[in-house]
Symmetry: C2
Subunit: 339 residues, 2 copies
């Protein structure tokens, strides 16, 4: 039976290059890779992944605890998943989706017990999250995309909501706005302790209060209709609002529609700034939305790299990475005109 | 060392129930599952997935050849991936993402050579697709989401573009429209032989010709700006157009914006029907888009089920499944008013 040595000899490369071509641990040019594959075919060499994983006691599989269909809207989630899969691939690992369904504790325990994955990425983290407790007890390497209330000893990469909200307010206040309302995710997500809802809400309250400005904030279900209803209620209660910060893509589009129906022009009468969104979603709006784009690609890359270091024992420090959303000024924010 | 028998005894269930709880092959109530997990913990039982896969010569892993970031916009792709992951889970399998990057032949060969996956799902299929040739030669079980030009002997689940376009035209013609333009995906996707672009374009030409109506069709890059430009050009060349069929979400939103800027009201002056789209994208539009929703969930389910039957040798016939998009009438189509 042919060995990796035989393949290397026939392809005219080193054994490590053959290994790199198979695992993706280091880059190999397409030409070299093609030569190695040709040699493997000629010799009938089969680098059985299962046999390799038994030898190394590693499967080179990373599982992503995947929350399921309800997240389907978010362009950010898809960017994150794609980035995580591509980063894993570059590092010689594979990303496996592990959908949670309705039994998150059972599914997390199944994942731990099956020992199929060397490590776990957890997304949609809540402040108090039983999945995190289970993973910690099991001593499975894991990294959070998001973070629990007390994440001191845990690896995480999360959006920096405090800086994001501060930057959003700096942009709007710099344009002369003072009556600024915040439309966030649903009350249900707050009650569930969903990190972004809790942290963005707290940041908005703190930064407005520090500036001596009134705090007007609403939770809103994740639908265009709910966004319409919130806008109607808001302007009834606070007719002097001149700017809106939203963190809820479907509601943002509903809010824009309701403002149009009510004869309020964006941005002449009302500025709208959508945070933790994505340029792809912004491009669907007319006028094009000013957004603060969620760093889905960066979080996927950092989270996977850190997790692999943790798996391989090469990590020098706990990952505590907070990345703010980036301001992308488009057509829905402008200087305040109303007195 | 504890065995599965010991776990079953302590949990008060049969050995097969323990197996079902671990593999997900059949449903087990959360209560039973919790009891089994408690027994496993008490006994320190570790059902090593790798050992099991060696015993069965199967890994119970399905790889999804995943095209990468450029698809990020599509709500349909995320629905498909989520449905595929959940169906695999229900059947006791795992879905692994295998991003292709720039070297699709090399990555496909790597996937085949590593023997990590029992079977492969291929998405974004082109009429002439080298990945399909490689998989066929390797005798790896695979299922196409989409289909090649000659897919006679292959398992596939695809959108039925012919029925979709016919149903779209029936809806618009039933409303009195006769001057109907089609805005599709980019010329680049046509040149690459991307199945949806080719098949929807052919269907539009055939069904319009059969009805004795003029064929006005345009390719359009996947951006709102390109959608705007196409609309400007279309109405310059064909001022009598009263209805638009689009198959390109970003372009659809650009087209709607350009129609608004030009003072053309939707649907009073122009009806807009977006095909192979999703209700989630439709809900972002104002007015809410009439769409034909792509069957992402159905394709994920059928594709995975068929692939597992193929892997396990229980498939009775080749899968040739064509599912049309479903018409969802919302606020952008109405009877023709212009004479």
């Amino acid at each position: 039976m042919a060995t990796m040595n035989d393949v290397a000899k026939l392809a005219g490369v080193s054994v490590s290059t053959v290994s790199y071509a198979l695992t993706g641990v280091r880059p190999v040019t397409p030409e070299t890779r093609a030569r190695i594959h040709a040699a493997m075919d000629e010799l009938g060499y089969q680098p059985n992944a299962i046999a390799r994983s038994l030898a190394s006691r590693r499967t080179h599989i990373i599982a992503l605890l995947f929350p399921g269909i309800e997240l389907g809207l978010s362009g950010t989630a898809l960017e994150f998943v794609t980035s995580a899969a591509e980063t894993a691939r570059e590092e010689g690992y594979h990303l496996m989706l592990w959908p949670i369904g309705d039994d998150e504790v059972g599914e997390t325990r199944n994942l731990i017990h099956q020992q199929l994955a060397d490590g776990v990425l957890v997304m949609e983290v809540r402040l108090d999250d039983p999945r995190v407790d289970l993973l910690r007890e099991s001593q499975t390497p894991f990294t959070l995309i998001g973070r629990t209330a007390d994440a001191a000893g845990l690896d995480y990469a999360d959006i920096d909501f405090d800086t994001t909200v501060r930057d959003a307010l700096d942009h709007l206040i710099g344009l002369g706005h003072e009556r600024i309302a915040f439309v966030s995710h649903s009350k249900a997500s707050l009650d569930a302790g969903y990190g972004p809802t809790v942290r963005a809400g707290e940041a908005f309250e703190r930064h407005m209060t520090e500036r001596g400005l009134p705090v007007v904030a609403r939770h809103c279900d994740e639908s265009a209709d709910a966004g319409r209803a919130v806008v109607s209620e808001l302007w009834h209660a606070h007719p002097d609002i001149t700017a809106l910060i939203t963190m809820n893509d479907a509601a943002t589009f509903g809010a824009m529609a309701q403002l149009a129906d009510d004869g309020r022009q964006v941005p002449r009468d009302v500025s709208v700034l959508s945070i933790a969104s994505s340029p792809r979603v912004a491009a669907l709006s007319h006028p094009r939305l000013t957004t603060m784009a969620a760093p889905g690609t960066e979080l996927g890359r950092s989270g996977v790299r850190s997790l692999i270091e943790r798996i391989e024992g090469s990590q020098s420090a706990t990952l505590h990475e907070l990345v703010p959303c980036r301001l992308d000024i488009q057509a829905t924010t402008s200087p305040r005109t109303k007195e």
